[in-house]
């Protein structure tokens, strides 16, 4: 079983800019999803006229479903500067990959609970680290996409875009840098230190 909990208010607010499109994933019945808190957060912290649209999705982790939803909401998504996603880490990563030119941010931390088997497992992985870093890494998980789980940038070991550990594995940090460059952003300057206390 898997639990998502809403991120602290300040972190989410600091990431919001311009108008926002909001996505909630209510896919997994097995997932504890803090929907009441999320709705409360939205109504208390985001002005209605700054919301270009909302979407409640099943199985955001399924790329094909998600693409179809995006197609149906093209206009509202286009209008938004920020896409705020409430889901587990996989869902956020799928959205970030489908909307590469948008700032996709997560409103949740994903916490590990024994026994969760994974549902529609695809190209993206979430290790349920309990302190989601996707807001700093352009929606690519540094814990699972980097062999060392580094938070502050590449280790310098990648050769031709491939990780030093395995030549079949793309360097996660090169992907993060490339996407940040696409979004015209520099990686976060603050120093991130892994917090294992939420595990």
């Amino acid at each position: 079983m898997l639990t998502t909990q809403i991120k602290n208010k300040e972190e989410i607010i600091s990431k919001l800019s311009g108008s926002t499109f909001i996505i909630k994933c209510i896919g997994c019945k097995e997932v504890l999803f803090p929907e009441t808190e999320i709705d409360k957060f939205i109504s208390e912290n985001i002005e209605k006229n700054k919301i270009t649209g909302r979407l409640k999705i099943d199985y955001l982790c399924n790329q094909d479903f998600s693409q179809a939803y995006i197609n149906n909401h093209k206009v509202e998504i286009e209008k938004a500067e920020t896409i705020l996603v409430f889901s587990c880490g996989v869902g956020v990563q799928v959205m970030a990959s489908l909307l590469e030119n948008k700032k996709v941010i997560t409103g949740c931390d994903t916490i590990y609970i024994n026994g969760f088997q994974g549902l529609t497992v695809q190209n993206y992985n979430c290790a349920q680290c309990g302190n989601c870093y996707l807001n700093y890494t352009a929606g690519i998980c540094p814990i699972t996409a980097c062999s060392k789980g580094l938070l502050n940038g590449s280790c310098g070991g990648a050769k031709n875009g491939k990780c030093e550990v395995n030549k079949d594995f793309d360097c996660g940090w090169e992907k993060i840098y490339n996407r940040l460059l696409k979004l015209n952003k520099k990686p976060k300057e603050e120093i991130l230190i892994r917090d294992y206390s939420n595990l």
Partner: protein, 292 residues
């Protein structure tokens, strides 16, 4: 003595490097280090280099100190969590070790214990930040240290000939902001690329020591081109190694190339860091030829 003091005096700083043995007999490397005494300002001691288990870097540094040789204590984040790293760095302070080189480290899968757990609780940037905290008299969790806090000169690494270069510069900037006071670079074989890197890295205002690895064989050059990040040995150097087999075998070609690189790099940097990888006996000759 801290390397930062030498940089402040505008000295051109030369360092070399030794790798502890697999075992606990240090006679050979201590002898090698002693031969370099007076020729280099300090000697780096690698920390389980390439993820191969060896004698400890901290203890080796301690032995160097005993011989009045200035060590640069290399610390990687692969094998220890933040508690052990801080504890070892405090131990280093008690041994009088003043220079650190803080790195992320290679993955365990590349070494001789591929089954081992890779720790990476911290990385190079957060480790630099941690040492700064210790210098402020608190640990990384904010708990107060007893007594006078330690003082170090903090070094870090950068790979100046990497492609793309941008990620290297971004991370270098992060290291400088975290507290890095000097940089030693990955091996350089392309002076033009290094100069371009320096033009961009100048803005950070920290001394940079160009890395030199002696080319031993054609095979080594090709292997690095295939496998080592941020290193490209140009064809012209590979040809030079091929030309006179005997000369290359004796090490003379590698010495000449290294000395030439140093001469060409010197106007663009604040120092040279030699990584002889076992060819410590060639270091003096290289420095002679390079006029250092």
């Amino acid at each position: 003595m801290k390397l930062s003091e030498l940089f402040e005096q505008k000295k051109f700083v030369v360092t070399s490097e030794i790798g502890p043995p697999k075992g606990f007999h240090l006679e050979k490397i201590l002898h090698e280090a002693e031969m370099l005494k007076g020729r280099v300002s300090a000697i780096n001691v690698t920390d389980n280099q390439s993820s191969v288990m060896r004698f400890g870097s901290l203890a080796t540094c301690h032995f160097l100190k005993d011989k009045n040789i200035e060590p640069v204590y290399q610390v990687v984040c692969r094998d220890r969590n933040r508690i052990a790293l801080q504890s070892d760095i405090l131990s280093a302070a008690a041994f009088g070790i003043e220079n650190l080189l803080l790195l992320t480290g290679d993955h365990t899968k590349l070494g001789d214990h591929p089954q081992a757990k890779s720790v990476f609780d911290l990385d190079s940037v957060s480790l630099i930040h941690t040492v700064k905290k210790l210098e402020e008299g608190v640990d990384i969790a904010g708990n107060k240290l007893d007594g006078e806090p330690p003082r170090f000169c903090i070094g870090a690494v950068v790979s100046p000939c990497s492609e793309p270069l941008e990620p290297q510069l971004i991370k270098m900037e992060k290291k400088v902001k975290a507290g890095a006071q000097f940089f030693q670079t990955q091996a350089v074989y392309e002076v033009d690329k290094f100069v371009k890197f320096i033009e961009k890295a100048k803005q950070f205002g920290v001394p940079i020591m160009a890395g030199i690895v002696i080319l031993k064989t054609v095979g080594m050059a090709k292997y690095m081109n295939e496998n080592v990040a941020g290193i490209h040995v140009p064809d012209s150097l590979i040809e030079e190694l091929k030309k006179d087999k005997e000369k290359t075998k004796s090490g003379q070609t590698g010495i000449e190339i290294a000395a030439r690189l140093i001469k060409e790099l010197k106007p663009h940097c604040e120092g040279i860091h030699l990584m002889p990888l076992g060819w410590d006996d060639k270091v003096s000759k290289i420095l002679d030829m390079a006029g250092l």
